[in-house]
Subunit: 193 residues, 4 copies
Amino acid sequence: MKREKPKYMQIIDAAVIVIAENGYHGSQVAKIAKQAGVADGTIYLYFKNKDDILISVFKEKMGVFIERLREIAHRPISTEEKLYELVKNHYTILQNDHHLAIVTQLELRQTRKPLRTKISDILREYLSLYDYILKEGIENGVLKDSIDIRLLRQAIFGMIDETSTSWVMTGQKHDLVSLTDEVHQLILHGLKK
Amino acid sequence: MKREKPKYMQIIDAAVIVIAENGYHGSQVAKIAKQAGVADGTIYLYFKNKDDILISVFKEKMGVFIERLREIAHRPISTEEKLYELVKNHYTILQNDHHLAIVTQLELRQTRKPLRTKISDILREYLSLYDYILKEGIENGVLKDSIDIRLLRQAIFGMIDETSTSWVMTGQKHDLVSLTDEVHQLILHGLKK
Amino acid sequence: MKREKPKYMQIIDAAVIVIAENGYHGSQVAKIAKQAGVADGTIYLYFKNKDDILISVFKEKMGVFIERLREIAHRPISTEEKLYELVKNHYTILQNDHHLAIVTQLELRQTRKPLRTKISDILREYLSLYDYILKEGIENGVLKDSIDIRLLRQAIFGMIDETSTSWVMTGQKHDLVSLTDEVHQLILHGLKK
Amino acid sequence: MKREKPKYMQIIDAAVIVIAENGYHGSQVAKIAKQAGVADGTIYLYFKNKDDILISVFKEKMGVFIERLREIAHRPISTEEKLYELVKNHYTILQNDHHLAIVTQLELRQTRKPLRTKISDILREYLSLYDYILKEGIENGVLKDSIDIRLLRQAIFGMIDETSTSWVMTGQKHDLVSLTDEVHQLILHGLKK
DNA sequence: CATGAATGAGGATTCATTCAT
DNA sequence: CATGAATGAATCCTCATTCAT
């Protein structure tokens, strides 16, 4: 039965695994095709080229982050709670898929310009939800209104991203989600006692 | 006078320029050699291989960050002031050398395992100075003692790194150093009003 | 009405257009199929393989050359007149179908052995009509009997073919048929005054 | 001793042999490199790409045709004699190098546009010497002045080219140079008795 | 008869590295 | 120390052809 899974997602999923295990550089198209159980040429029926696979992986997986955060952003809860859920959501998705975590935190930090641009574009949608929550917080008088919102967003994302990368680079040994409380506290109140 | 500059630094400097302008991928050894004004083969008298050039670039340039931060860490000033200088120092070095900023924030985020490891090793020395300042702050009762010091460090570095990367990716148009006040405030007191 | 045209000729005609516009190299089977309005696989119900399309194109189109020349060869006119009509016929067919002209003069000059052989075989029938006319001319004492008939034929065909190719390569701008008089004269009396 | 032969000509000569024996299509760069006794990559120190090899082969070899014809064109002999030598020269060069003959008459008739253009450019210099001789003949009242000189040139070249191609396609069995007399006669006086 | 998704063999080209001079 | 000509491994992608529907 060919029905099971459309080949597109089959290849995406294979790519995540292969890239996580071999690095983008070590992930020949043939290797991804084999993992996906399709012929090399089949890849090109669904993706323009190799880079397009990576971009699509990011797009598809970022979709999950975005979808859930969007739901959080619209819940009838306080800004503090939304920020808490924001952090927890990010950590949870990464912790639940170690392969994805490697790809997201390490392999996707590609340097070639065109790729970088495409990835940024996708990330922008995710970060615009940060902005939504932050703006609301400022309007409600919960968050500082003296600082540029972009800077607030970068501060939050920087903390979450750096802690995630550290977690991945140290072998994903400890529990990432359990950092949520402390990181949430740091985001809101800073390092000062 | 090229004569007075040992070829080693000549190549390092050439590498920063070439990599910043062409990306690591587009920086063939031949191109770096040409920019440095030496023959291709000469590179290999000073560097083991191409990766070694990148690592050496990072090591040499990180040295400046480390040197200055070490001086700051030992000044007879408060922890708050040290953190202020830490941020300012990082931003200032990047802002003063746009080529270096590109290399540091974008091109060095290489994905290949061996390179990643080497770069982490070098970064560790820089980050250990963060730890020194943080530890002091905790002991003096200035900083939270309820949170793991590694997390505090990641929070600070994450913010600084993310803001720097954003600055580079948006074309280094605005003034980076002038963000110091706000970022310092976020580090200490968080986003909450 | 596509319905009335058997798919075989539909594909042949599509191939002439696609090959003329894209070159043999740029004429993927899929492109020909699309132009013909059939599925890729359908091509293989009518042709053994891609080369077979080209051969069939040549065979079908050469058929027109042959048919008309055969009629000319049997007309009750002088050898000189027959040679005149031979040239005019060749030029007229090419001039009336610019796509065909490109395919015949340029794209069909394929180099691969098997194709070359097949094309020669088809051409042979056309050229045997040249021989028929030439033989008659020799027997009637009109043409030189001192020169091998194959050489005479090659001389005529060489002139016609080269002038046709030049015409195609210069963009088919001038009138090809109007060269008939002069070429006819050259064939009969040579370059000498 | 690497001295013997500059690698450029070494590769050109290898290419002629390999292409003659395998066709352009069957002539992988690796095969040419092997025949030339160099590494694959070395080819690219001397040629921009594979097509450039073919173009260079044609340019180098056409040079011989041109050089010799130029000398003939300037000899103090009659136009008739020059045309005789022109034919003989062409046939002689081809007959003396069977590999070259195959490449020239068959493999070089490539269809891809850019290649075709480059080859035409090179051929033009050779044909301009035809024009030189023809113009002289017309001015001296030896040749017809009623026919466009380009047509005269195409007639001559067409005959020579077609007879050469026939000779190659029939396996280069008979003697090509011995056709000179008859072809010369056809060029000057045509087929008419 | 007709479809078109899937196949997978095949090859030009780049570029880090070496080593004879 | 310095050179730079030569090396050769390594891989993405195309596209003619098949065959299950």
